[in-house]
C-alpha cells in the first residue's frame, strides 16, 4: 500500500513543485569577444519566461576594466498554438554598454535574477581587450558621431548611510537609526529588497516615507542631495558593539537613459553598555529620559467610594519594556491593578498614564504611602527615582457598610493570577467520550422492555378472550416441548405433562370444571362443538396414557415417540380448532 502511494505522492509533489516554479531562463551574450580600447562592448542579458512574473531588472554588473556608459531594455512577447497547445513566452532584453578602461582579459560576472524567491544566474563571459582602435567610434548607439567620447560626463555617486541617533546606549534603551540616500545623480526611484539583520537587537519601524524627498547637504566637503529612506527603532539586548541592520536594494537613476544600480547601506555600529549596578528596589527595567508627575483625584471621600491616583510618565524610553510598579494595599485600603493609558509614538516617545484605583476600607484619616518609580536615566547613566508625597485621605462614614462595596469594586478590578496547574492536557469535549454515548444508549434502550410490557397489557385490555386464547396456546406449546423432551428421555413424567396440558387447555378454553372424568369431558367437548374426530383422538390418547401409566412394560422408546406424535397432532388440532 505504502509502496503504491509513495510514488503517487512524489509525482504530485513534483508537479506542485514544478507548478510553483516559473519556467525562467537567463542567458547573457556580448557583441564582441575581442575588442579594442576604443570599442564599445554591448553585454546583453536575456531573460525568457513563460508567464507574467514580476521580474526585477538586473543591476548592471560592476566589472573591473569596463566602464558602464549606458543601458537599455526591451520586451518581446510571443504566442503560438501548435497542435492545439497554447504556448507563450516573454523575453526581457537588458543591454549594458561598456567602454574598456584597460587591456587584457576581462571577465563579466554572472548576472543574478530573482524570480519568486528563486535565484537564476546567467553564465559569466570573458572578453579580451587589446590596445589600439580598429573600430569606428560610432559603435556607441547613443553617441554615433563621437561628440562626447573624449569628455564623458561624470557618473556621479549614490550611497545609503545609516545614522544612529546615539553611538552609545544602554541595554534596552531604544535608539532610532535613520537611513538616508546620499546622491549626486538623478535618482528617480529606489527599491528596497532586503534588510539584513545582525545579532544583539530587536527592531521596529519608526517612519518610512512613501516618496523620495531631497534636501541639499554637505558631506565630506562635497555637496549631496539627501533623502530619508527609513527610520527604525533598535532595542539592543546584548551588551556589545552591535551593527545596525543593512539595507539592500537598487536605485534607478537617469543618465542618458534609465539605469539600475544595486546598493548596500554603509555599515554603522552602536556600542551597547550593560546597565550600571545598584538598581534600586522595585526597578522594572525602564531606561530613558522621563519626567513624572502625580495626581490624586480627591482627598476627601465617603466610605464605599474610590479615588484614583494617576502617575504621568512623560518622555522617551523603552515604554514597551517596563511594566507598572505595584502599589501595595494595606489593611486600611485596597488598590486595583493599574490601568495603563498610552499616547506613544512607535512605543518610545510620548506619555503613559498609570491609574491606580484606591478603595478605603475604614473611615477616618488614611495615610497613603509614597509611590515609587525608578528608571535608568540614559543621559546621565544614573538610576533616578520618583516618589510621591505621603498624602492623607479623609474618609467619612458612608452609606455603604464597610467591606462590602469597596471590596466588590476592588475584586472587579483586580486580575486573577495563574491557574496553578503544572501539567496540561488536551480537553476533549465530553460528547466525544465513549461513556457519554453508552449511558445515553442505555437510557434509551431501557424503553424497549417497558414498551413491550405496555403492549402486552394493551392487548389484554383490548380483547381479553383473544389474549387468553393466545396465552393458552403459548402454554400448550411450551408443554408440548416439555413433553417431547420427556418422551425422548423415556421419562414417565411425559404422561402427566401431556394429560395435564390437554386437560388444562380444554378446561380453561371451554370453561369446564376440573373434576370431570374422561367420559364427561368428551361429552362436554362434544356439547361445545369440538370436532368428533378430535374428541376421539383425545379420548384415545388419554386411554393410551392411562394404560401406559399402569403398565410399565410398555416403557419403550417407540411407544413414547408414538404417544408424543399423537400429542403433537392433538396440539396442532386444538390450535386450529
Amino acid at each position: 500500500m505504502v509502496k503504491k502511494l509513495l510514488p503517487l505522492l512524489i509525482l504530485m509533489l513534483c508537479q506542485s513543485a514544478l507548478q510553483a516554479q516559473p519556467n525562467v531562463s537567463v542567458k547573457s551574450s556580448v557583441n564582441k569577444h575581442t575588442l579594442y580600447l576604443s570599442d564599445t562592448l554591448v553585454h546583453t542579458v536575456r531573460i525568457t519566461t513563460d508567464s507574467n512574473h514580476n521580474i526585477p531588472a538586473p543591476a548592471a554588473p560592476v566589472v573591473d576594466g569596463l566602464r558602464l556608459i549606458n543601458q537599455s531594455s526591451s520586451t518581446e512577447s510571443r504566442m503560438s498554438i501548435v497542435n492545439m497547445k497554447y504556448e507563450r513566452s516573454i523575453v526581457y532584453n537588458y543591454l549594458f554598454y561598456y567602454k574598456p578602461t584597460r587591456t587584457g582579459r576581462i571577465t563579466i560576472p554572472q548576472t543574478k535574477v530573482t524570480v519568486k524567491n528563486t535565484v537564476y544566474y546567467s553564465q559569466s563571459i570573458t572578453v579580451e581587450v587589446v590596445a589600439g582602435g580598429g573600430s569606428s567610434p560610432s559603435t556607441d548607439p547613443y553617441d554615433p558621431f563621437g561628440m562626447y567620447e573624449d569628455t564623458p560626463m561624470p557618473e556621479g555617486e549614490s550611497f545609503v548611510m545609516p545614522i544612529p541617533e546615539a553611538k552609545s546606549v544602554f541595554v534596552g534603551e531604544p535608539v532610532i537609526v535613520a537611513y538616508y540616500l546620499y546622491t549626486t545623480q538623478e535618482v528617480r526611484s529606489l527599491n528596497l529588497t532586503e534588510e539584513k539583520d545582525f545579532e544583539g537587537y530587536g527592531k521596529s519601524l519608526y517612519e518610512q516615507p512613501q516618496n523620495l524627498s531631497f534636501e541639499r547637504v554637505n558631506y565630506r566637503q562635497q555637496s549631496f542631495k539627501r533623502s530619508l529612506l527609513k527610520k527604525m527603532v533598535l532595542y539592543p539586548h546584548l551588551a556589545k558593539q552591535i551593527q545596525v541592520p543593512q539595507l539592500v536594494g537598487s536605485i534607478r537613476y537617469l543618465r542618458y537613459g534609465f539605469q539600475n544600480r544595486g546598493f548596500r547601506s554603509e555599515p554603522a555600529h552602536i556600542q551597547v553598555k550593560e546597565l550600571p549596578p545598584g538598581a534600586p528596589k522595585g526597578y522594572t527595567g525602564a531606561v530613558g529620559v522621563f519626567n513624572l508627575s502625580q495626581r490624586l483625584s480627591d482627598q476627601t471621600l465617603k466610605l464605599g467610594e474610590a479615588v484614583v491616583l494617576t502617575i504621568q510618565i512623560n518622555g522617551k524610553g523603552n515604554f514597551n519594556q517596563f511594566t507598572a510598579p505595584k502599589y501595595q494595599s494595606t489593611p486600611a485600603f485596597q488598590v486595583s491593578t493599574p490601568k495603563i493609558k498610552d499616547q506613544l509614538t512607535s512605543g518610545i516617545k510620548g506619555v503613559r498614564l498609570l491609574q491606580y484605583t484606591i478603595i478605603p476600607k475604614v473611615k477616618g484619616d488614611i495615610k497613603l504611602p509614597a509611590f515609587k518609580f525608578s528608571w535608568l536615566d540614559s543621559k546621565t547613566g544614573k538610576y533616578m527615582s520618583f516618589s510621591t508625597k505621603e498624602q492623607t485621605l479623609n474618609v467619612k462614614p458612608g452609606s455603604a457598610s464597610p467591606g462590602s462595596q469597596p471590596s466588590k469594586t476592588l475584586k472587579e478590578l483586580q486580575m486573577l493570577g495563574l491557574s496553578g496547574k503544572t501539567s496540561y492536557q488536551n480537553q476533549d469535549p465530553i460528547y466525544l467520550s465513549w461513556w457519554f454515548w453508552l449511558i445515553l444508549a442505555l437510557i434509551l434502550l431501557s424503553l424497549i422492555p417497558s414498551l413491550y410490557l405496555h403492549n402486552q397489557r394493551r392487548q389484554k385490555a383490548k380483547d381479553p378472550k383473544k389474549w387468553q386464547s393466545k396465552q393458552l396456546q403459548l402454554t400448550l406449546k411450551q408443554e408440548l416441548h416439555r413433553a417431547i423432551q420427556a418422551a425422548h428421555d423415556r421419562d414417565p413424567e411425559f404422561y402427566h405433562i401431556a394429560q395435564s396440558a390437554i386437560q388444562n387447555y380444554l378446561n380453561t378454553k371451554y370453561d369446564l370444571p376440573a373434576h370431570l372424568c374422561q367420559a364427561e369431558l368428551m361429552e362436554a367437548l362434544a356439547q361445545n362443538g369440538v370436532d368428533a374426530e378430535l374428541i376421539a383422538l383425545i379420548s384415545s390418547f388419554f386411554t393410551q396414557i392411562q394404560a401406559a401409566r399402569y403398565a410399565p412394560a410398555t416403557h419403550e422408546q417407540d411407544h413414547f415417540q408414538q404417544l408424543a406424535k399423537t400429542f403433537e397432532q392433538i396440539v396442532t388440532a386444538l390450535e386450529q380448532a
Binding site: L6, I10, A17, G202, K421, Q425, N426
Partner: protein
C-alpha cells in the same frame, strides 16, 4: 528503496515549501527576560505541542497580562473561553481588561441580553453533556410513568413533566451542536499590536485611524496580508494581518 523514496519525498517537500514561502520576519525579540517571560516561553512551547487546555491558554493570557501585552492577554482569555465558556478566571480577567480599557471593547448589551449571554457561557460542553443525559433520563422516566399509568389515573402530572423534560432536552440538545458550530466558525480577532491602525481602502493612506490594542474585531473578509474587520465601534476597516490575532487560529 523505501528509504530512498522517503528521502526523496522529504527533499521535494522542502523544495515545495521554499518555493511557496514568503520571506520570514526578521524582527528579533528584544524583550528583557523576566520571570513571567520565562514562564511564557515555557507555556508557549507546550502550546506548540498542540495541547488545547483552557487553563494553559488562561496561564499564557495571565503572563501576557502581567507583561503589559493586553492584546495577547485578551486573545488567550478568549481562546480559553472558547474551550471552556464557563472558565471563570478568564472571564474575570477579561472583564478587568474591559473595565480598564473600555474603548477597546463593545459596550455592554441590555441587561436581559447580558443575562442570556451569561447563561449560555455557563453552559459549557461538560455541563451541556451532563444536562442532556439528565433530561434524557427524565424523558424516559416520564414515558415509562405514562405507559404504565393505570387507565383511570390522572395523566396530567406525567404529561406536564414529560413536556418540560422534552423541552429542556431539545434546548440542550440543540445548544450543544450550535455551540460547537459557533466556536468552530469564530471570526473574532484581537488587535495585538500597540500601534495598529485601520484604513478605509486595502492600502494604508492618510486617513488611517488608530485601533486600540486589545480591541475585539470581527473578520469580514481577508486578502493576502490584510483583513477587513468590523471594529467594536461598528466601523468597517482594513487592517494588517500582523496586527491581529485570530481567536480560532
Amino acid at each position: 528503496m523505501k528509504r530512498t523514496l522517503f528521502a526523496l519525498l522529504l527533499v521535494l517537500c522542502m523544495v515545495s515549501l521554499t518555493a511557496q514561502n514568503a520571506i520570514s520576519s526578521s524582527i528579533v525579540d528584544s524583550s528583557a527576560v523576566s520571570e513571567d517571560q520565562l514562564l511564557l516561553s515555557k507555556l508557549e512551547k507546550i502550546e506548540q505541542q498542540g495541547i488545547k487546555d483552557a487553563d494553559l491558554y488562561y496561564d499564557i493570557g495571565v503572563c501576557h497580562h502581567r507583561l503589559g501585552n493586553i492584546g495577547y492577554a485578551t486573545l488567550y482569555y478568549l481562546r480559553a473561553l472558547n474551550l471552556n465558556s464557563a472558565h471563570q478566571a478568564s472571564q474575570h480577567n477579561l472583564n478587568v481588561l474591559k473595565k480598564l480599557n473600555p474603548e477597546a471593547f463593545e459596550p455592554d448589551n441590555l441587561y436581559l441580553l447580558e443575562l442570556l449571554k451569561r447563561i449560555i457561557a455557563w453552559l459549557n460542553y461538560p455541563r451541556l453533556a451532563v444536562l442532556i443525559l439528565i433530561f434524557t433520563l427524565f424523558v424516559v422516566i416520564c414515558i415509562n410513568w405514562l405507559l404504565h399509568l393505570k387507565p383511570d389515573s390522572e395523566k396530567g402530572p406525567p404529561v406536564l413533566l414529560l413536556s418540560l423534560s422534552s423541552l429542556f432536552l431539545l434546548i440542550f440538545g440543540l445548544a450543544l451542536p450550535l455551540k460547537m458550530h459557533s466556536v468552530k466558525n469564530d471570526t473574532r480577532a484581537v488587535v495585538v499590536s500597540p500601534q495598529a491602525s485601520g484604513f478605509i481602502y486595502e492600502k494604508p493612506d492618510d486617513s488611517s485611524t488608530p485601533i486600540p490594542q486589545a480591541s475585539i474585531v470581527k473578520i469580514i473578509d481577508q486578502r493576502s496580508g490584510i483583513y477587513q474587520v468590523r471594529t467594536p465601534s461598528g466601523a468597517i476597516v482594513w487592517m494588517n494581518a500582523d496586527d491581529l490575532g485570530k481567536v480560532m487560529p
